[in-house]
Each structure stands twice: as C-alpha cells, then as structure tokens.
C-alpha cells in the first residue's frame, strides 16, 4: 500500500472516530472550513489587486510633489514657463492659469501663451507638454499668429533679431515698406536689431523722453553665439533674452524685485541644470546654455536687439534712429494705445 493510500486511510479513520465521539458531522466542518478559506483567498486577493492603483497614484504624487526644492512638478512648470519667457520674444505664460494633469508616473501640462501688442495682451496660442517622469516630450504647440516664427529654426534662415556682427539680409528692407503701409490706427509689435550691443540701461537712449512713443517688451541678450548663428555642433541658435513688465506678475523671475539682468543671469544658470528639458520645450534644438552662461559671466549682460510695441506712426520713426539697424514686423492689432 502506498503512502498516499495510508494517509487517506488514517484520515478516514480519524474522521469516523471524531464523528462517533463528538456527535458532529466532520464533513460539514471541513466543507465550512474550505468555504471560509476560499472566501478569505478571494477577499484578500481582491484587496491586493485593488491596492495597485492607489499605491501607484501615491508613488506618482510623491515623485512629483518632492525633490528639486519645491517638488519636481513645480520645477518642471517653472522650467517650461521660463523657457518660453527667455526664448520666445514677447511671449509669456500666466502661471496661475496653467493646468496640470498627473497620471501614473506621467504629467500633462496645458497652458495658454500671451503677447502684449500695444497696450493690451492677446492670447496667441496654447501649449500641451507631456512628461514621462521629469522628461518632457516635444510640445504640441498651437499658435495663432499672423507672422509666426519657424517651427524649427533653420541654419540658412535669418533670425528676427540680428546681431550687429551679422549682415542683415536684403529682404529686411521690405519690412520698412510693411511699416509704411500699415494704417495709422493700428498698433505694431516690432523686432529691432541694434547697430551695437549696449548696456540694458542704455536701451532708453533709443526713445529718450518717449520719442518715439514706444514701449520695450523684451530685450535680446548677446550671449556670444548669436554672431556665429550656430552652436559648436552646427545647430542654429535663436535669440535669448528677458521680458520687461510694466506691471509684473508675482510668478515671474522678472518681477522687478531685483535687476532684470541679475534675474536673467540667475534664471539662465538655473535652466542650465535642466537643459535637456528646456531644449525639448524651446523651438531651437539647441540652447547651448553652458556656452552662453560662461560668456555672460565673462562679459556681462549686453543687449543687441529688442521687441517693441507702439502705434504704427511711432514705429515708422525708428527708421531714422541711429541705434536701430533693422526691423522686422511682428503682429499688428487695431488701435488700443490709450
């Protein structure tokens, strides 16, 4: 007789003895125990399965809510907002309106971008950026501009703000024709290139006593690579600079609490730590922040161009300005210069 048969024989005998001694049906007890074990297994397995989603959610929120000083999500929001302020002339994000959606180890940022043209701000587009942990995908941009910049800047295409050491393409003369043809009752956004790089404080010399009556919205900073047009790897670079807010919001680093040049240098140094993310969000496929920060540290902040806005007749006056080398017209809106 095998061990197995012996085992079952002993069990049967024990059951019979138990039934005789206690007057209780052992099969009933066994059935009940089996049923209870099965119920326990089902309930505990179900609980474990249902705990997967809350655990992953908690881990995701823990990941985005901690690290990088103020939390990884907040840092990425700050990086995205700063990249747009620094690399897109006269374009900014209202951080209070920015919306984030967090899923399992991923985040989706949605925000609108604005431009100031004349005295009013206009919503000019929207961004959608998907992050896997802290790495963004290329943003989904949707801009509603009459004169948009290239989606990906090309080497042979002139920048809208031209460095003093780079020759101005002949087609830029046509831009003055556009300014001449724009009706007087409009306000214009214009990209100015200066004859020389100058200190930020000297920019006011372009319109002393507000003549022409224009406002500076964004200043392009000479970071050493604009004159080369491309970076060390041969990728085209775009202007980088900082905004000037008359009534600055409290979320921007350029909130007039410290000099804008200092805020710009600090922001650029900070962005250098998140260069891969910043480059993905920016239109230019290189920001060369390492090279640029080194240059600024050595040479200080020098301005070689600006974005201005004003009534069309005032913008026309810039043609005879000694500091202005070339102009490119941006957006034009109906009169709002009150």
């Amino acid at each position: 007789m095998s061990d197995d048969q012996n085992y079952w024989k002993i069990i049967d005998r024990s059951k019979k003895q138990f039934d005789q001694n206690t007057n209780i049906d052992s099969n009933k007890i066994l059935k009940k125990s089996r049923h209870k074990a099965l119920t326990t297994n089902i309930l505990i397995s179900l609980a474990i399965l249902l705990m997967i989603v809350p655990t992953l959610t908690l881990l995701t929120y823990f990941y985005y809510g901690t690290g990088d000083g103020n939390g990884r999500a907040n840092k990425q929001i700050e990086v995205a907002s700063n990249v747009i302020e620094l690399t897109e002339p006269n374009m900014y994000v209202k951080r209070m309106e920015l919306e984030e959606q967090i899923d399992f180890f991923s985040m989706d940022l949605n925000f609108d971008v604005y431009k100031r043209i004349g005295k009013e701000e206009y919503r000019v587009g929207e961004y959608d950026i998907n992050y896997m942990l802290d790495q963004p995908d290329f943003p989904d941009r949707n801009l509603w501009l009459d004169r948009p910049h290239q989606e990906i800047p090309q080497k042979d295409e002139a920048s809208y703000i031209i460095h003093p050491l780079v020759s101005v393409p002949y087609e830029y003369d046509r831009e003055w024709d556009i300014v001449e043809s724009i009706p007087d009752g409009t306000v214009v956004e214009a990209y100015l290139s200066f004859t020389d790089s100058m200190d930020p404080d000297d920019v006011k010399d372009i319109n002393p006593g507000l003549d022409p009556d224009i406002e500076f919205l964004w200043l392009a900073v000479d970071t050493g690579i604009e004159k080369k047009v491309v970076d060390d790897q041969g990728l085209p670079v775009t202007p980088i600079g900082y905004p000037i807010y008359k009534d600055p919001p409290n979320w921007t680093p350029f909130d007039n609490r410290e000099d804008n040049e200092v805020a710009f240098t600090n922001t650029l140094n900070d962005l250098e730590h998140y260069e891969s993310q910043a480059t993905k969000i920016a239109r230019a496929k290189t920001l060369a922040l390492d090279e640029r920060t080194d240059y600024i540290q050595e040479n200080g902040v020098k301005i070689y161009g600006a974005v201005v806005t004003g009534p069309a007749p005032e913008i026309r006056k810039l043609k005879n300005n000694d500091h202005v080398r070339s102009l490119k017209v941006g957006e034009v809106k109906l009169w709002n210069w009150h």
Partner: protein, 97 residues
C-alpha cells in the same frame, strides 16, 4: 451559558468581515473614481474608510475575525494616510494662491 457562547462565537466574526468588506469597497470606489476621472458630489469613500478602521479595531479582539480585521484595519489606515498625503501633495503641486 452554552447558548450564549454559541451566539457569541457565531457573531464574533462579523466585525472583521465588515472591516475587510468596507476596505474593499473603499478601494473599489477609489479605483473607479480615479480611473474614470469621475467626481461625484457625494463620496462614500471616507465613510467606508472609517467603518473599516473602527470595525477592524473591534474585530482585532475576536479570535475568529482577527485575520479579516487586521487586513481591513491595515487597508483602512493605508487609505487614510493615502488621503492625507494626496491632499498635501495636490495642494503643493502647481499651487495657486
């Protein structure tokens, strides 16, 4: 006396079972709400967590329902901590004054 003991033993497993079932219901509710992005005005989530914690504590004193009670209590405490941490993180991320 024997009858009282029998009744006691018959019902002593209930708090543990209630605790575990409440915990499972709160987990299921969280899963549905999170995965479908559904937001209901009345959420029984907190009620289920409280039931699972309190009946879990009661169930721990009974030998029969200790397993269910400890699972129910464990999940209830986990969900309570989870809720507090989620509120803390949600308020901290993209903070808008």
């Amino acid at each position: 006396m024997e009858l009282a003991l029998k009744i006691k033993s018959k019902f002593s497993g209930i708090p543990g079972l209630v605790s575990l079932i409440s915990a499972i219901l709160s987990l299921a509710y969280f899963n549905i709400e999170y995965l479908t992005k559904m937001n209901t005005s009345f959420s029984p989530f907190i009620f289920f967590i409280m039931v699972s914690v309190f009946s879990g504590i009661v169930g721990l004193f009974s030998k029969q329902s200790r397993l269910y009670a400890s699972w129910g209590l464990g999940i209830g405490i986990f969900l309570a901590i989870h809720t507090v941490l989620m509120i803390f993180f949600t308020l901290g991320i993209n903070y808008k004054p």
